[in-house]
Symmetry: C2
């Protein structure tokens, strides 16, 4: 079950370019993290899966932390794209907000290794780089825009500021996702003790914010 990225011979490998190899390494790293937990990134295993020895990885990344950083940035970009797609598709309607909540959980289930890195603190000593933080800020911008849109279009009617509303929604969304992952990570997004809570939560928000 280790062959998703096929080992290449040195000859064929060298024909490919640097960026492609770096991409392969990141993919292999994601697999390892998914199997053993985000904090347990074993470089020898990563190297094995791309057909190298561990020290050769240092040609592509200056160390373990750099791989985490690259994956943090990758994850932020992937999730932001997903969020933006949902936003253009549904707008800041109630249905759209519900999709966003589902989408957060779905992203976490589909990419648990990235989710852990981005939104939990599983790796001792890992702090996102400046580039990572910039990417996170961009994501926050999208969320802010979305919340403002929901307020100005009248989807949400409440005395709360956009900022507070956004923080609240982030906290709620994160809350049931974290619980779902901790307790029933094998169950699909809409099900289980916590996964099934999304429509309940949306009803609650509607009741509180639509009057």
């Amino acid at each position: 079950m280790n062959e998703t990225v096929r080992p290449l011979t040195p000859e064929s490998r060298r024909q490919r370019n640097h960026d492609e190899m770096a991409g392969n390494i990141l993919q292999a790293a994601r697999e390892v993290m998914r199997e053993q937990g985000a904090a347990d990134l074993n470089l020898q295993e990563v190297a094995r899966r791309v057909g190298m020895r561990a020290p050769s990885l240092y040609t592509y990344f200056p160390g373990r932390t750099a791989i985490y950083e690259a994956l943090f940035v990758l994850g932020m970009r992937m999730y932001r794209q997903r969020l933006e797609a949902l936003l253009t598709e549904h707008g800041a309607t109630w249905a759209g907000l519900e999709r966003i909540m589902e989408g957060y959980l779905a992203f976490a289930l589909e990419n648990p290794e990235l989710y852990q890195l981005m939104f939990e603190r599983p790796v001792p000593g890992f702090v996102p780089s400046a580039e990572g933080l910039a990417e996170a800020a961009r994501l926050l911008d999208v969320s802010r825009r979305m919340t403002e849109q929901a307020i100005t279009t009248g989807t949400i009617t409440s005395p709360l500021s956009a900022e507070v509303t956004m923080n609240l929604m982030i906290a709620l969304m994160h809350g049931f996702t974290a619980q779902h992952l901790a307790n029933e990570p094998h169950l699909p997004a809409g099900s289980g003790r916590f996964g099934s809570l999304i429509p309940v939560l949306m009803d609650l928000l509607k009741k509180a914010w639509l009057r």
Copy 2:
């Protein structure tokens, strides 16, 4: 800054009993985890702080994991006591529920190393033992009783079952706590982007559940 548990000479140490020494080790472990993150429990450092070498710890615990397990159980007991105290003091009133939410965040801030171990998954490969799970189940029982009480006494009026209500409250409580810890762990419990959200959230629940 390493001297909270004072190293003892072998002579004076042997006069103390096994359980007391085990307790010292757990305290030292908590300090190390607090300084370096729950996943970074360094046994050499723990041993140093209680005046031993690392292999001697194995007299008291069969390994690193056993220390995590003991701390998991300890944390569950500490938090449950706190919860029960709040419950007897305030009952399942709105004020009581708000205190419980604050208390969860406060516990996390006061004992971050225990909180991480109990409610996040920071340690690769760590799964709570049977005793730990039993302790967690006891905590869940208290929460369930509390929720049922809130419903039967009429504090909460909603069409939701006690089970769903409880899960929802757990998810919400955990959500802003996790965000507070991830973003502003140095700020005290009632403040900051997420810590200040508790009264907002309680208002929201009241609006939704008091009609």
